[in-house]
Amino acid sequence: MQPKAAFNDIVQGALLWRVWLSLSWQEFVSTYRRSLIGVFWVMLSFAAFVFIKLTIFSSLLGADDVRYYDAYLVIGFFMWVFSQQVIMTAPDTFVSASGWIRSEALPLSTYIYKMVMREIYNLLFTFVVVIVALVYLQYPVDIKALYAVPAILFLLLNAFAVKLMLGIIGARVRDISHLVKAVMLPMMFLTPIFWMPSQMPNLMKVLWWNPLFHAIEIFRAPILDGTFPTESWIFMGVVFAIVSVSGFLLFSRLRQRIVFWF
């Protein structure tokens, strides 16, 4: 156990912002290199998905208030894509950086910051689509929508903790990466994005324990309803405490051993 060294690693990694900013941006851009419209594919694929979902689901479900439902779906799906991405890539945090880890004596947290930055780029690009959609729907947004700002910052902090914890476990036990992907697929339907909690009250009694619901809710509710979802914030606070503490404990114990696992 070396909690002090682990803490130092996280601080020193943050100070290397030039490293993780440039690496993450290069990786983000290179995914789309040599393609005609480049990084705008992020927006386009998200926009196409949203558009199709809107046309299919809003008519299928026959929601009472179509505009409300459409906005609900757009914001919820935006947060879903973000959360799913954060979790699914988390077990590969250190594995995908193994070449760097085996050749540079950098703080390991550098690679976590790098991964979180990539989520931020995706977030910014897809958020443009959300704004366009809300404007198009002429959805009335309250000043209380600004509660979504601390929510997203908190979720990014959460993303760091998730990547720390799952990154270590995923580097040691390679099944985790596959397991997480297998779990996330059905979660898309077990999380209220396409359907509303009010439509399935019985199911929601169980699914209330799904952390992804609360992660989405703390961002969605302020924009959609102009409310501050206290319950969901508390739930996410507990989730963050558990994930960050266990991640930090693992890091304190295994930090120096990770390099031997590749």
């Binding site: 490293v19 290069q26 290179s30 290199r33 070449g99 085996r102 050749s103 540079e104 390679r174 031997f260």
Partner: protein, 248 residues
């Protein structure tokens, strides 16, 4: 002023990911140790030495003798299981041609990444880039993605980056394999310059010509044990005598 002191370095390399189940520790008592349910390779065993400024050290020994492991311990990549390394001087290292690079980025972008990692400022980067391109003799290829490079080109670029800022300690692992004779000469010259400025270079290689050309001192590792440390000719003599006996 550079200096490296290694005190009783031992490194037990943990076997994971199924590798532990495929190896029978009883049949390899010399290299595998079992602690509880875990198996470890004895990669380094009680290695102690001191390297002074102005020395070129050749790290020699057969495959799997611990050369790369030792270089990574010296570079701070691996934490030794016991013992410690005390070194003074700015370290620059080159462990392999496929590590620490972004293959999809251009040569120029990779210079920037490695420069940033080494903490160069924007001005320093600007100043050094033409110099690195010139030394690596890459010309216009510098703006092509690294994955399009031949091994030799990649080696030249990485070596140029690793040495351009006059590191005090230079650690090189099998770097020579890919360079042509002309570049080897240039690289050897640069290593000598570095040592002349009171630096240290440690080169692990199986290429005896290279080692004898650039190194006056040598360390011979055999299954993680340091068998000899001294003038390179003596080290090779001891090593040859040992293996002549063993292999006979």
């Amino acid at each position: 002023m550079a200096q490296i002191d290694a005190f009783n370095l031992s490194l037990h390399y943990p076997l994971t990911g199924g590798a532990d189940r495929n190896i029978n520790a009883d049949r390899e008592p010399d290299s595998i140790v079992t602690v509880g349910r875990k198996k470890y390779i004895l990669a380094l065993r009680d290695v102690t030495f001191s390297i002074q400024k102005g020395q070129n050290i050749g790290l020699v020994g057969r495959n799997g003798s611990g050369k790369s492991t030792l270089l990574r311990v010296l570079g701070g990549i691996y934490t030794p299981t016991s013992g410690q390394v005390v070194s003074t001087g700015k370290i620059s290292s080159l462990y392999g041609m496929n590590l620490g690079i972004q293959p999809d980025a251009t040569g120029r972008e990779n210079i920037v990444f490695r420069g940033i990692i080494k903490g160069w400022s924007r001005e320093e980067l600007k100043e050094r880039i033409p110099e690195i391109i010139a030394f690596s003799e890459l010309g216009d290829f510098i703006d092509l993605p690294l994955r399009t490079y031949s091994d030799g080109m990649r080696m030249r670029l990485l070596f140029a980056i690793a040495t351009c800022f006059a590191p005090e300690i230079l650690l090189l692992d099998e770097w020579i394999g890919a360079g042509d004779a002309n570049f080897q000469k240039k690289a050897g010259q640069r290593m000598n310059d570095l040592v002349d400025e009171a630096g240290i270079t440690v080169v692990a290689s199986h290429n005896r010509n290279l080692i004898q050309n650039v190194c006056e001192q040598g360390i011979w590792l055999d299954r993680g044990v340091m068998r000899a440390h001294g003038p390179i000719a003596d080290v090779y003599k001891e090593m040859d005598a040992h293996f002549a006996k063993v292999d006979a």
